[in-house]
């Protein structure tokens, strides 16, 4: 069994096992164990890829290169830490009566299935399977979003389901069009035609530009819905705020990344066959719009998880903008930003989850004085916010700075909206978080059982990435950058 198979099978089998096992207390631990197995296998696989270069599995079904392997590791890692967090969190939710035992089983099972679908989406070599996995990810998370069965949760899940379903259907149409273009070019073995490796190798030779352009529009709208690009983003704040917090952490930290990954893969194809900057320009426009609008939305939030989900939209917009800009520096920055954003945002959601349990509500104006009631949570939230707002010495600062630099080089005038956007977003976060952390705690507020280990680990990693990108990681990013943009940033 190859490492890749372990990486994929562990969550799949884990999901089945957890579905059979029911709600026993050990389920939480098994969840963690499966996460660990996945992460371990992914890490070893990553090291192998790092040493020996891209791997194509037997039957060419899976393709692992520098770009997706690091996302695989990131996914497995955040999946692991979130499962560590979710054990006490979900137990607390059961105690509060928000979740029944049956649903806890559903939660655990779906959690692993969701991880499986994301890992599949990342590692597959087939654009069609990529689409299938993305749809699967939607289906599994729909159940998780509606876990609490409150009217709001149901409503959010429904919107998520319909909007993402529609979106992903557009992506399917785009995939069909790509297949159409490739098929008319290649003929031959039909099963190979949608393979990424095959497509990428023929793309330079000229897939039909008109078809590819149309396909890209459909794919952009489709996967863009999942990325949460404005104006396709409307499902995102609902789904993030109404689902259980571990779900929000993985949705923000991982699902958006995977969708963006799909988009970038497609963009690589399109760029290779179009020789214009159409794809990049569309992505830049989309990204900038999302970045600005989401920053404004931050100001008007009453719900803390909703606020941070808008922050996710904002950062996704920024990353899309970066990838859209292309060029080694921007791509490097966008890759780095993807990483640090996932780490930071999942840490923030974990902290926010504890904070909400502490205050018994998600309403910002009722969460106060965290730092006094439970300093670990208060500091976690504060540092997380500082990090996500792009303050040095955290890694987000470095990646945002890189993106700014790249913008300054390629599109000097766009630096201004970017800087304004940073300011607006920071103000939006600061005005809410400051009061949540430092305000006067309401009487009778008691600390809760919290596992801050994932937060500490995540923030530490982000800090580390901000202080010094470790050599192997830098080379890794560099390889990925070369893959995507064709040139090295270093």
């Amino acid at each position: 069994m190859t490492l890749l198979e372990i990486t994929l099978l562990a969550p799949l089998l884990g999901g089945l096992l957890l579905a059979l096992l029911g709600h026993r207390p050990i389920a939480g631990w098994i969840n963690i164990a499966v996460g660990m197995a996945t992460f371990g296998a992914a890490l070893v696989m990553a090291l192998e890829v790092f040493e020996h270069g891209p791997q194509l599995s037997a039957g060419r079904m899976f393709y692992i290169d520098a770009f997706n392997v690091y996302l695989v590791v990131l996914t497995a890692f955040v999946g692991l830490t979130t499962s560590i967090f979710s054990r006490p969190y979900m137990r607390h939710e059961v105690e509060r009566g928000r979740v029944t035992d049956r649903r806890l089983r559903l939660y655990h099972s779906m959690y692993q299935c969701f991880l499986f679908s994301m890992l599949l989406a990342l590692s597959t070599n087939n654009l069609g399977v990529l689409w299938v996995a993305m749809e699967l990810a939607t289906l599994t998370t729909v159940l998780l979003v509606s876990l609490y069965r409150t009217p709001e949760a149901i409503e959010a899940a429904w919107k998520y389901f319909i909007l993402c379903g529609v979106g992903i259907a557009q992506a399917l149409f785009g995939t069909v069009l790509i297949y159409f273009a490739a098929e008319s070019k290649l003929g031959g073995d039909r099963d190979d035609t949608l393979l990424w490796t095959v497509l990428h190798s023929v793309a330079g030779g000229g897939l039909d530009p008109a078809v590819i352009t149309l396909a890209f529009v459909f794919l952009l709208v489709g996967y863009g819905t999942k990325v949460g690009l404005v104006p396709l983003h409307n499902w995102l704040p609902d789904a993030h705020s109404e689902g259980p917090t571990p779900m929000s952490a993985v949705l923000s930290g991982l699902l958006l990344n995977v969708a963006l990954y799909a988009l970038v893969r497609v963009k690589m194809l399109v760029d290779a066959s179009l020789h214009t900057n159409l794809a990049g320009n569309l992505m830049m426009g989309f990204g900038l719009l999302s970045f600005t609008v989401a920053g404004l939305f931050l100001h008007r939030q009453h719900d803390v998880k909703r606020m941070f989900s808008y922050s996710s939209i904002e950062h996704m917009g920024l990353i899309t903008f970066g990838f859209g800009m292309g060029g080694p520096l921007a791509t490097f920055g966008a890759l780095l930003h993807m990483t640090v954003h996932s780490l930071t945002k999942s840490a923030i959601f974990i902290t926010v989850g504890h904070a909400c349990q502490l205050a018994g509500t998600q309403r910002i104006d009722q969460i106060r004085g965290l730092i006094r009631t439970q300093p670990a949570i208060g500091w976690g939230l504060l540092l997380g916010t500082v990090a996500i707002a792009g303050f040095p010495p955290f890694g987000v600062f470095i990646s945002e700075f890189l993106l700014l630099m790249a913008t300054m080089k390629a599109w000097p005038w766009l630096t201004i909206p970017l800087l304004v956007g940073f300011g607006v977003a920071f103000a939006g976060l600061a005005r809410h978080v400051q009061r949540m952390v430092f305000g006067e705690p309401p009487p009778g507020q008691k600390p809760v059982e919290a596992n801050m280990l994932p937060v500490v680990v995540h923030l530490f990693l982000v800090l580390w990435l901000g202080l010094a990108i470790p050599g192997f990681l830098a080379r890794w990013f560099e390889q990925a950058t070369v893959l995507i943009s064709g040139a090295s940033p270093l």
Binding site: G165, V176, S184, E242, H299
Partner: protein
């Protein structure tokens, strides 16, 4: 190419495609629940027939498989599920009010023209005689989306969604003789799961909101929400350092 010069198979394909498009329009205008579901099943059947015809005409036997899948899903399983659900939810005789039906149909016509315009740039690639059906498939997809936009009922939305999928599937059949098998299987699996989930959600929705009118779901609206009170607008430059 002159239409009359086409083989009978191809003429039949184009005919059935036109009929499928027509069913889309019917769905758009159909206010009552049961006929809507049936129309959807009819559309599925037309697609199946097209697939089989294409399979025979082009000699791609694997299209038979996808035709079989389509038949099972779009003609049997999903309509049946929807029918059962409507019956259990006691809404099979419901009819919803369609606002501006004429405008909606005109919009549908515009969409057909639009998709024809869009597909003009790509159909030259196809070697198939029936390549103009690509425009039809895109139109079916867009009409499905229009249906979702226009209808208030959750069931109608699901039908619109499924109709979109049909359109895409149709596009795959007429442009490239279907997708690779693994993709088709995955797709079928996803659609099956989705339709089951939709069913589950109907109950949840009714439990939570008392109806399946999705237009009423706006608990999570931000449009009329006031801004958070501006407590913290005092200058805090002292903390700046």
């Amino acid at each position: 190419m002159e239409f009359a010069a086409l083989s009978l198979y191809n003429q039949a394909i184009i005919l059935f495609a036109a009929l499928a498009l027509f069913t889309s329009f019917i769905m758009l205008a159909q206010a009552r629940m049961m006929p809507l579901i049936f129309t959807f099943a009819w559309q599925g059947l037309l697609l199946t027939v097209v697939s089989v015809l294409v399979a025979i005409a082009s000699g791609h036997p694997q299209l038979h498989i996808s035709a079989a899948i389509t038949f099972c899903l779009k003609v049997v399983v999903i309509p049946y599920l929807l029918y059962r659900l409507s019956a259990r939810l006691n809404m099979q005789y419901d009819a919803e009010v369609i606002e501006h039906p004429t405008l909606l149909l005109l919009g549908g016509v515009a969409l057909v023209i639009f998709s024809y315009h869009v597909s003009q740039s790509i159909i030259h690639l196809s070697g198939l005689a029936t390549r103009n059906t690509i425009a039809v498939s895109m139109a079916i997809e867009l009409l499905g989306m229009l249906l979702m936009c226009a209808r208030k009922s959750a069931v109608a939305q699901v039908i619109g969604f499924m109709s979109m999928e049909s359109g895409i599937f149709f596009a795959a059949v007429v442009s490239t003789y279907g997708m690779p098998l693994i993709v088709e299987l995955g797709l079928a699996f996803d659609i099956l799961v989705a339709s089951i989930l939709f069913g589950v959600f109907f109950f949840h929705l009714r439990d939570s909101f008392g109806s399946l009118n999705v237009g009423q779901f706006n608990r999570l609206s931000e449009a009329n929400q006031p801004m958070p009170s501006p407590e913290a607008t005092e200058p805090s430059s002292g903390e700046r350092s």
